[in-house]
């Protein structure tokens, strides 16, 4: 009987002491945390993609709670819906951000841009970039080693084996920007998704002179400025032999697409043109 009593008493005593220490410790080491951080984190998508510019959703939630003005902060994954929820929790204003999308600005597929040498080594664009300009004559184009595809956490990109180029799956892309950072050639750009997903862009980043660019790739921008002259909205600028369409100014009139002599300007998600033969964009790149 004694044994049982001693056991119970000693165990209970130990338990009490431990509980007391824990109680003291929890008081002593308590850190005050704004409970709203948890609330905000709750509505964030928990993808920890870093697209907002913060290391993970928790850090973003902390930043949102801390900032007085959150209109410059945006969660590209959750989009407006999420930011509205955040705003209602925090009682702050958010600006409405236009949905964005990753756009691959290179159409140098195997048929358009002939291979001139073979790369052998680590399957990584970054590693290839530390060696040389790539397997083709174009020193600006895609390596085709899929760093962007590996960087994408949303299954929004895949490598088209036949073309040797990455393709963005529109429905999956959350515009986190991971692929943009991963690309050593700065080919991928975040552009406005556009109404009904319609958008126009120059699918080339080659800054070589026209002749040089054309020689290494049949669909390169040669900097001829025809599109610039054609554009009624001043949306196109040509610098260093390369045209760029400002998506804020572009009104999607598609005039530039027709005049481009190398089919370097792509129109996506537009209905087919009325006049036969006017569809100029490369069929390969429209497939998304």
């Amino acid at each position: 009987m004694d044994v049982v009593i001693i056991t119970i008493v000693s165990l209970a005593g130990l338990g009490a002491i431990a509980a007391f220490i824990l109680f003291l410790a929890s008081k002593k080491f308590q850190v005050f945390e704004d409970p709203r951080i948890d609330d905000v984190e709750e509505v964030l998508p928990a993808t920890n993609c870093g697209g907002c510019g913060f290391p993970g959703c928790r850090a973003f939630a902390e930043a949102l709670v801390k900032a007085d003005d959150i209109s410059s902060l945006n969660c590209p994954v959750g989009g407006d819906e999420t930011m509205q929820k955040v705003a209602s929790i925090l009682g702050k204003e958010v600006s409405k951000a236009a949905p964005m999308l990753a756009v691959v600005r290179c159409n140098g597929s195997c048929s358009n841009r002939p291979q001139v040498n073979r790369y052998q080594g680590a399957e990584s664009c970054a590693v290839a970039a530390s060696l040389y300009s790539g397997e083709t004559g174009c020193s600006y184009g895609c390596y085709g080693l899929a760093d962007c595809v590996r960087a994408c956490k949303f299954d929004a990109m895949y490598m088209d084996k036949k073309m040797g180029l990455p393709v963005v799956i529109e429905d999956n892309c959350v515009a986190c920007g991971a692929c943009v950072d991963a690309c050593p050639k700065n080919i991928i750009e975040m552009r406005k998704k556009g109404p009904k997903g319609r958008r126009i862009f120059v699918s080339c980043v080659n800054r070589d002179k026209g002749g040089v660019a054309r020689k290494s790739c049949t669909v390169a921008c040669i900097g001829c400025k025809k599109c610039q002259k054609e554009c009624p909205f001043d949306a196109i600028t040509v610098e260093n032999n390369l045209a760029y369409i400002d998506y804020e100014k572009c009104k999607l009139c598609r005039k530039c697409v027709i005049v481009c002599p190398t089919n370097a300007i792509h129109e996506i998600n537009f209905p087919p043109r009325k006049k036969p033969g006017a569809q100029k964009a490369d069929a390969e790149s429209v497939k998304v």
């Binding site: 001139v116 040498n117 073979r118 790369y119 060696l131 397997e135």
Partner: protein, 331 residues
């Protein structure tokens, strides 16, 4: 000649490969294998074949059907594990238990961590210690060398020199009294003593060591550190109390020390990368082995010593770096 190949330098390779290293280890194990056949005959053959076959099969099945990888049994590493496991078992060990041990070695010790190069512990030792703890009776009945050549399960058994020593000292006899009951140094060196199939013949193991050094499969540091630290530690103990402690030479030649130091402790993925780390690791193994042998419950401690030090390897690799060329200038 069509398109030029472009790659980072270097543009040539030494020609070394995983296969070459693994088959090199197998070649280095051949003298010990021959010795085990010589001393334990048919039993050693059955144990070795079962162990190697099960290891290969287990690796094939796990990598193909569970990990869904291309099976890599041809690289020789599973065969090495199988051989080493067999070397660590008594030659009268039942087939069913060998199969269990081999599956544990490959499945738990190697493949569960991702296969070759990923395992933190020596797979063969994981299998061996699993068997030792689960089936202590079968794991500690040792067939007599030479005499048991023709028999397998029914072999006449005896104790290992280390067990004789441990029991003798525990029952109060002095070292000099026990010496009469154990094999001479010469017998230990040639392998005429009871023990696991592959561990008995020191000379065969040393031949394998020489071969691996010649082929640059391993560096000498770990085996020398293990054997050296064992010698020094037991030497000190023997000098302090010669009646209660065996000589360093006895400790080195008996039990699995040679096999462990040369073939088990040097397992690539479970040993440190830097030379200094290898010394720490090897000395740790030596010290723990002697501690277990002298004061522990088991007569032999090399398996546990290696597994314990395996656990420290990540820590050693984190803090012990190779000696850098041109030490940092503090400004």
């Amino acid at each position: 000649m069509s398109k030029l190949l472009v790659s980072h330098s270097p543009h040539v390779h030494s020609g070394d490969s995983v296969n070459k290293n693994m088959y090199g280890v197998i070649i280095a194990l051949l003298p010990a294998l021959a010795a085990s056949f010589w001393f334990f005959g048919i039993g050693a053959l059955v144990v070795t074949l079962t162990s190697v076959a099960t290891c290969l099969l287990a690796e094939y099945i796990i990598s193909k059907y569970i990990l869904k990888q291309k099976p890599s049994i041809t690289d020789g590493s599973a065969a090495v594990t199988g051989l080493l496991l067999a070397f660590n078992l008594p030659s009268n060990f039942p087939v069913a238990l060998i199969i269990i041990g081999a599956i544990v070695a490959i499945g738990m010790g190697k493949m569960s961590f991702g296969g070759l190069g990923q395992n933190p512990f020596n797979p063969a030792l994981v299998g061996r210690v699993f068997l030792l703890i689960s089936y202590p009776v079968q794991m500690t009945s040792w067939p007599e060398p030479v005499a048991s050549r023709g028999s397998y399960i029914d072999a006449s058994t005896g104790a290992t020199p280390l067990a004789i020593m441990k029991e003798g000292l525990a029952s109060g006899s002095s070292y000099s009294e026990i010496v009469a009951q154990i094999p001479s140094y010469k017998e230990l060196f040639l392998g005429v003593s009871g023990g696991s199939a592959g561990e008995v013949a020191a000379i065969a193991l040393l031949l394998g060591f020489g071969y691996m050094l010649w082929k640059k499969i391993i560096s000498w540091h770990i085996p020398v550190a293990v054997i050296g630290s064992t010698a020094i530690f037991t030497g000190v103990l023997h000098a302090v109390d010669p009646t209660a402690n065996a000589t360093p030479l006895f400790h080195i030649l008996s039990g699995g020390l040679m096999l462990g130091a040369i073939f088990m402790a040097t397992d690539y993925s479970s040993s440190p990368m830097a030379i200094k780390g290898m010394w720490i690791y090897g000395i740790g193994i030596g010290v723990i082995t002697v501690t277990i042998r002298t004061w522990g419950a088991y007569p032999e401690g090399i398996s546990f010593a290696i597994l314990i030090m395996n656990a420290f390897v990540p820590l050693i690799d984190k803090y012990i770096k190779p000696k850098r060329f041109g030490e940092k200038v503090v400004e």
